[in-house]
């Protein structure tokens, strides 16, 4: 427990302390003038910080929305239809999950370069979506499976069209599932930004928080208190979303793996 929380506590503590207290060796365990000064000052030290935060949110939102667009029909199909190669293709999806982006970077880099897409938002979104599709299909499939097929069949027999069934039966019943998968995709793309961002993007305007802050570590004197403050600001949104919804997310993720 200490092991897990210590880094966060220390990050927060450091963010409250003035810089000259941090730069004392050996380590001082307490400071008497704790303040949120660093949280004000960091906007000056890292002038692009608002932009980084915006980029992170923008990239994660767009990535998760595109993921949902691809995943919804596919997951529905897996949940409802029987067809050749159904199981084998599901296992292939699982296998894709095991490949890290790092293996695919070389050809992707070359293609993006040829099309002049390096240093753009697209360069970070396109590979991001690919790595979220597999798990999202698995997750959403299990939600669709919970909708009783009798409902659909009854409506079909009564003469409803497929589109009507989708709109009036499936959409309302699967909303909670869609929300959970959407949030999974959001957190996932928020977390995976770093690798694609440092590889495909050198432009400050498009950097998400992690790579934006990482750049600052390279400088000779790192203002650690502001750095930690900025990091915590970067962490906060996902942590808050997660704390509110952790029950659903964890249940969804573990049920798949434990039952299988």
């Amino acid at each position: 427990m200490t092991f897990i929380l210590l880094p966060f506590v220390e990050m927060f503590y450091a963010s409250l302390r003035p810089l000259d207290h941090l730069f004392r060796s050996p380590y001082q365990f307490y400071s008497d003038d704790l303040s949120f000064w660093a949280y004000r000052e960091m906007w000056n030290t890292v002038p692009m910080l608002p932009r980084y935060i915006f980029n992170s949110f923008f990239l994660a939102s767009v990535t998760s929305l595109i993921t949902l667009l691809f995943v919804i029909p596919a997951a529905y199909s897996y949940a409802r239809f029987k067809f050749p190669f159904k199981n084998s293709s599901l296992y292939i999806l699982l296998a894709i999950n095991m490949f890290s982006g790092a293996v695919l970077l070389i050809p992707l880099y070359k293609v993006l370069r040829t099309f002049g897409l390096l240093n753009t938002y697209q360069a970070m979104i396109v590979p991001g979506v690919a790595f979220l599709i597999p798990t999202s299909i698995w997750l959403l499939k299990s939600y669709f499976e919970k909708i009783p097929i009798d409902l659909e069949e009854a409506a079909f027999v009564d003469g409803a069209s497929r589109i009507q069934i989708l709109r009036h039966i499936i959409a309302p019943l699967s909303t909670p599932g869609l929300v959970v998968v959407g949030i999974y995709a959001f957190i996932g793309s928020y977390a995976q930004q770093f690798l694609f961002a440092i590889t495909f993007n050198q432009k400050k305007e498009y950097m998400p928080i992690p790579s934006g802050l990482y750049e600052f570590i390279g400088y000779t004197t790192v203002k650690w208190n502001e750095m930690m403050a900025a990091s915590l600001v970067g962490i906060a949104p996902v942590l808050i979303i997660f704390l509110f919804l952790q029950k659903y997310i964890v249940a969804g993720l573990t049920s798949g793996a434990v039952k299988n």
Binding site: F70, A95, V103
Partner: protein
């Protein structure tokens, strides 16, 4: 009417049409790059262009002592990291499963390292490991274990251990949560029966819990091995593979060759080795899943 229903549920073309967008996307962004990487590994591709060079990349790679060192190092790194994650995860899950006060809060509190973007978590660890001002060096100096400032990431051995510890920090929560879910799935009456028979706590753990969750333990160790093998950000942010290559794993080496030096061909050859190893892992994992599924359906 039955005929009609049948047609509703068995429209193969419909099924494929719905999957097609996702499938095409995956083929373009995942499958094609995989094949292209294999092709590139036989060339000397760089920013300047490419020529076919046959097996040269592979010959050079396998005959270099450095590369063999990297492979060994990767597996040692993985071994320690995965074992620690499993052991700590198992202990954590037992504690969280026990009837303690406030366990629901603790169950939430174990998760942050898993959810938080790894890259940002590592910025925190950089500060913890700071040799002059970090808290770990600080405690070490205060207690007299260290006799002066010590940069944990500046020396070969300590950097190796430090990156493992950070990796364990990131990976343990997920392992714990999965173990906990598995433990909660163990039927209660097994414990009640054992309790009536007078089995001790240890007996109950080793004779009921452990055998019952073995399938999950095995799956998690494989999955965790795969993720640890793929781990990039942790090492990259903490050490970039240094000092003097002491934390360079296969993934880091691949990245450095390909996108640090823009030697796409050499990088691709390494990526192919990574792919083959991953495919072995994935094959193991999928075979195992299929076996467990079969067992469940037989029961």
């Amino acid at each position: 009417m039955n005929q009609k229903l049948k047609s509703y549920n068995s429209q193969t073309y419909m099924a494929y049409a719905l999957i097609a967008p996702a499938a095409i996307y995956i083929i373009l962004i995942v499958a094609w790059p995989l094949l292209e990487t294999i092709r590139l590994s036989f060339t000397n591709s760089s920013l300047a262009g490419e020529d076919y060079v046959g097996l040269e990349n592979y010959q050079k790679m396998f005959s270099s002592k450095k590369f063999n060192g990297i492979v060994t190092r990767t597996f040692v790194w993985m071994f320690f990291s995965v074992s620690l994650k499993l052991i700590i995860g198992l202990i954590g899950a037992v504690l969280l499963n026990a009837n303690l006060k406030g366990r629901s809060i603790f169950r939430v509190l174990v998760m942050p390292p898993w959810v938080v973007p790894i890259a940002i978590g590592m910025l925190g660890w950089l500060w913890l490991y700071n040799g002059y001002f970090g808290i770990i060096a600080g405690v070490g100096m205060r207690t007299g274990i260290l006799d002066g400032p010590f940069g944990f990431l500046a020396y070969k051995q300590s950097a190796f251990i430090s990156t493992i510890i950070a990796d364990v920090w990131v990976g343990t929560p997920m392992v714990t949560v999965f173990f906990l879910a598995a433990m909660q799935g163990v039927p209660r009456d097994l414990y009640e029966a054992a309790y009536c028979d007078g089995a001790s706590k240890w007996d109950r753990f080793f004779k009921i819990t452990l055998p019952q969750i073995t399938p999950v333990i095995i799956t998690m160790s494989l999955l965790s091995a795969i993720w640890t093998f793929n781990s990039f950000e942790i090492i990259w942010i903490l050490t970039e593979g240094g000092p003097r290559g002491s934390t360079t794993t296969l993934i880091i080496d691949t990245y450095k060759q390909a996108l640090g030096n823009y030697k796409f061909g050499r990088g691709a050859a390494r990526a192919v080795v990574v792919m083959i190893l991953l495919m072995l892992f994935a094959g193991f994992y999928l075979a195992l899943l299929a076996r467990i599924n079969k067992k469940i359906s037989h029961e």
